[in-house]
Amino acid sequence: MYVSPIREPLITGKKTYKQITDEISAPIEGKAGKAWYAGITITLSALFLGLAMMGWTIWQGIGTWGLNKTIGWGWGITNFVWWVGIGHAGTFISAILLLFRQKWRTSINRSAEAMTLFAVMCAGLFPLIHMGRPLLGFFVFPYPNTRGLWVNFNSPLLWDVFAISTYFSVSLLFWYVGLIPDIGTIRDKVKSKFKKAIYGFLSFGWTGSARHWSRHETMSLILAGLAAPLVLSVHSIVSSDFATSVIPGWHTTIFPPYFVSGAIFSGFAMVLTLLIITRKVLNLESYITVGHVESMNKIIIATGSIVGIAYITELFIAWYSGVEYEQYAFLNRATGPYWWAYAIMMTCNVISPQLLWFKKLRRNLAFTFVLSIFINIGMWFERFVIIVTSLHRDYLPSSWSMYEPTIVEVGIFIGTLGLFFTCFLLFIRVFPVIAIAEVKTVMKNSGEKLANRDKNE
């Protein structure tokens, strides 16, 4: 088989197939270490804090939040958009990179897709809590009711309901379908009868028959083809929540592509944050190599630059439109009372990723880790800036106001971080973090030159 002499191997170390299976399934078979318990204690505490604050919100009402008549959307929606955006990297890696035949995705797609699911779960919580009466949340679905009414199909907020629920369901399906062969591997590997039964059930009776594989491959490809436009549609629809309104600062036609690239940008940052730690803790350095980190960093420069151009385009169009409200909205955004949020957004999202043009920095793990956190923060502030600065000074100066989150809102946000990391920590103990079967397929042509067992070659 042809092995490129120039390209960096995707999997280092001369591995055999058995070694790949053993190394990737080691965290599932072994016992959790102290670090894992310490980690899950912290994340569970955060989760419980969040649950308490959510309970308080539901019990006491949305008045416990720092919102007021002028600023009706604050941290809740900021967090919602932030989490949905983070989810986008997983689908981008598993669907779009699959269609582009990027083999490096095989090492990171599984964990990135899991991250997508957890992020969308966190995101979905916010609109639900924000309703004030979550028990009536089912009102968003078009079902025959005594009121004789249907939901408003012209509203982007309703499109969101369909987009997010479809996105979650299809991502879950895509993730699970890809996981089935690996669950089969784990089933055949674990010793305990109880575990064998559980994994046996979850594996759906997978045997690895060539006929199943052939269909599985076809299905994965079509699912990727379906998920690729889906992921682009989801954040476009989220951006329509803003763009279809007539609020200066929101009423912008570039929102869909701008939000989508921002989403992929922030998603890759989160993937890097998680995987730089995971590869170290689970000893998967030979699968998630520095080369993988570099590839992800390249996507970060590309999407980060698109985001930067979008920011500048917004400013230009605000000036060029000649609309004084639009002009004021952007002037106020950059120099008004929330200038610091705008400055954080600009520094973290536009300037910091440009450092990645240097190859040394792209391949530096510590730098990448710090940068990924910066981008996570910057992208959170982007949503905060768009939402709060566009609202806080509306047409009547008498209703101008400022917004500050209360402890309840902060607590809920910390709670979702807790939920996200708790789910991820559970995931790495239960399922293989790397797609075992997929890594084996790239082993021969993209691995380090194997000790070739095929003597006839």
Binding site: T16, Y17, K18, T21, P142, L149, W150, N152, F153, N154, P156, W159, F162, A163, T166, S169, V170, L173, F174, V177, I180, P181, T185, R187, D188, K189, G200, F201, L202, F204, G205, W206, T207, G208, S209, A210, R211, H212, W213, S214, R215, H216, E217, T218, M219, I222, L223, L226, A227, P229, L230, S233, I237, S240, I436, A437, K440, T441, D454, N456
Partner: protein, 173 residues
């Protein structure tokens, strides 16, 4: 009485060559179990292209029709609602939900078809021939005729490709 021979390879190249040779000799291969999708194996085994994409297309079309039809019916026939003077039948604003449901139906329809067709699903209890066929062994199961005329030729092909654990099994049927 049904007879078959089973063996495993340690490398997919051997499996591929053996498969091609066996097929050239008109031997019927019952099943091949591999730990990962081996490139070119489905053509070597002579599998036809799967119909799953067609299933996905049909399910997607159903989703599209349901979503678009329902929105149209609800907003023009059942309860025409005035929203900011916008038209009742506004195609552009029906597109997002139509698209989402098309994808949803296509994806789930295809996955369900895959599970039914492959007889996989929660609680499916398929026989596992070799626990390492999901790990690092490429297992081949070849049908033999009752008279045993093919035994020698199959065995020689398997042996040439360094197959291990070659076993002839017989089951009453």
């Amino acid at each position: 009485m049904k007879r078959y021979i089973s063996a495993y390879f340690e490398d997919e190249e051997n499996l591929l060559r053996a498969t091609k040779e066996l097929r050239a000799k008109d031997v019927s291969i019952q099943d091949v179990l591999t730990p990962f999708p081996v490139h070119g194996l489905d053509t070597a085994l002579g599998y036809k292209r799967s119909n799953l994409p067609t299933v996905a297309f049909i399910c997607g079309a159903i989703g599209l029709a349901i979503a678009f039809g329902f929105q149209t019916w609800a907003f023009t026939v059942d309860y025409p609602l005035f929203i900011g003077g916008k038209p009742h039948f506004s195609i552009p604003s029906f597109i997002p939900i139509t698209f989402e449901l098309t994808v949803l139906f296509a994806a789930f329809g295809m996955a369900i078809a895959f599970f039914i067709r492959s007889k996989l699903g929660p609680g499916a209890n398929n026989i596992i021939h070799d626990e390492r066929s999901t790990n690092d062994r490429f297992v081949i199961i070849v049908d033999l005729d009752e008279a045993g005329n093919q035994d020698a030729i199959v065995k020689s092909i398997l042996e040439k490709e360094e197959a291990l654990n070659i076993q002839v099994k017989e089951i009453e049927s």
